[in-house]
Amino acid sequence: MIEELSLVLPYSRPAETDASLSALVETYSTLLFRVAHSVLRNPTEAEDVVQDAFVRVMEHRRAIPEIRDLRVWLVRITWNLALDRRRRIRPDQLDEDFARTLAGGNLPADTALHESRELARVFREIDRLPRAERQVLLLSAIDELDTRELAQVLNKSESAIRALIFRARTRLRERLENKQARLTKGGTA
């Protein structure tokens, strides 16, 4: 977890701001990778998005001292870039690959295949959630942003964020249960 002190960029001269870009990469690259990965579910695409985000930072480096919460700003840039990129690729294929990676391990092949299908179904249902709930659920899954930061990234109040997390989780569980029940009913019939 990154320290709270590093969240706010010290107000410094532009030259020092330039020099701190490499420190920014060191500090935030992993967090931004996870943010992009939660949307794209593909390491290569997520890395491209992180790279693009830092290019944006470099382009706006003169304005960096004026940014109050740099971490939130970076997460928001990365989030928007990842959403843009996800519209241009085939997310289903990426979800299946990622689910296969998650399910792999010491499991037997048939169990791993079943698990990967179930996980891919979970990701599909996450993508079918309402937009606000989906965003909150994915960003909260990264577990590095607290409620205040989530509220800043998504332009919502903290209470709204908490309610959205609860609603997203409940709705996701209900949909998965309904789908499971339909599948079971179809299998027995």
């Binding site: 990469v25 997520a46 992180v50 480096r61 998965l176």
Partner: protein, 280 residues
């Protein structure tokens, strides 16, 4: 019973959701992410320093367009400026501007063409001598450096023609790199050329790319036959002597007769059944 089953299913779904979200949380980038990002930023900063603001042609065209759309015609159509003198002044200004812009465009296109045709001015690390020469040369030339990166985090120096793995210049060809490798060779004595392996991943990637380029290509193995093709092969006649002979009716009749004789020899006719009256 049903309640227990539904609880178990709900728990399984919950654990599956947790597992999916934990997978998102535990996602790790490939090693060297910071180095790749810094290399990309350095490359971008270098290209910006070399060509600040991009090509001047673009801004020039924008200015020209705004001039042609706004300033020129509007000045000619201002109320009270419809006199011959005003029109003549506007026309002369437009002609002057057009001539200037044409000359500027010609110069800009020459610069662009020259930059595309001219070989790369970056040095190639070929030998110890050339490397020392390169260092001295780089000091003299003072290539633009990235001031915003810490030196210890700067990426590995890469040879000419190799750009960091960005999507900005992925089309740098292997052939260009190959020709630049032999720049230090004198005349026909190419065997005396000394190519020193440059440490780093970039050189390995170059070697890998070259070996892939020169690797012999093999034809694809034949695909296995489908069941239909196998059946087709069984009924197919190739026209050999035996099959052609079978088409002759005399030969076929003889063959049938032989088969009948052979069958009867193997299975002789059964003896006639004895009737009960015969015994008496």
């Amino acid at each position: 019973m049903n309640t227990n089953r539904s609880h178990a299913a709900s728990d399984a779904i919950d654990s599956r959701i947790d597992r999916a979200l934990a997978g998102l949380h535990d996602a790790q980038p490939r090693s060297g992410l910071n180095g790749r990002i810094l290399a990309s930023l350095q490359h971008r900063a270098t290209s910006e320093a070399t060509n600040p603001g991009g090509l001047p042609v673009h801004s020039f065209i924008v200015k020209a367009w705004s001039f042609a759309r706004g300033r020129g015609p509007r000045r000619a159509s201002l109320p009270g400026s419809g006199s011959a003198r005003g029109n003549a002044r506007g026309t002369a200004q437009l002609v002057t501007w057009a001539a200037t812009s044409a000359a500027f465009l010609a110069v800009a296109s020459l610069i662009v063409v020259h930059r595309q045709v001219a070989p790369s001015t970056k040095p190639v690390i070929l030998s110890e001598a050339s490397q020392s020469h390169r260092e001295a040369d780089s000091k003299d030339r003072e290539l633009p450096q990235v001031s915003l990166l810490r030196p210890e985090l700067a990426p590995v120096q890469v040879p000419t023609g190799h750009t960091p793995s960005t999507r900005r210049h992925p089309e740098r060809s292997v052939a260009q790199r190959r020709t630049s490798v032999f720049q230090n060779c004198s005349g026909d004595k190419t065997d005396q050329c000394e190519i020193v392996a440059v440490s780093g991943t970039a050189q390995n990637l170059d070697a890998q790319a070259l070996s892939d380029l020169h690797a012999p290509s093999h034809p694809a193995p034949p695909l296995p036959l489908t069941p239909q093709e196998k059946l087709f092969l069984r009924v197919l006649r190739y026209g050999n002597a035996t099959q052609l002979a079978e088409l002759n009716p005399l030969v076929r009749a003889q063959q049938d007769a032989d088969e009948t004789i052979a069958f009867k020899a193997f299975f002789p006719d059964p003896p006639p059944l004895k009737q009960p009256g015969d015994d008496e």
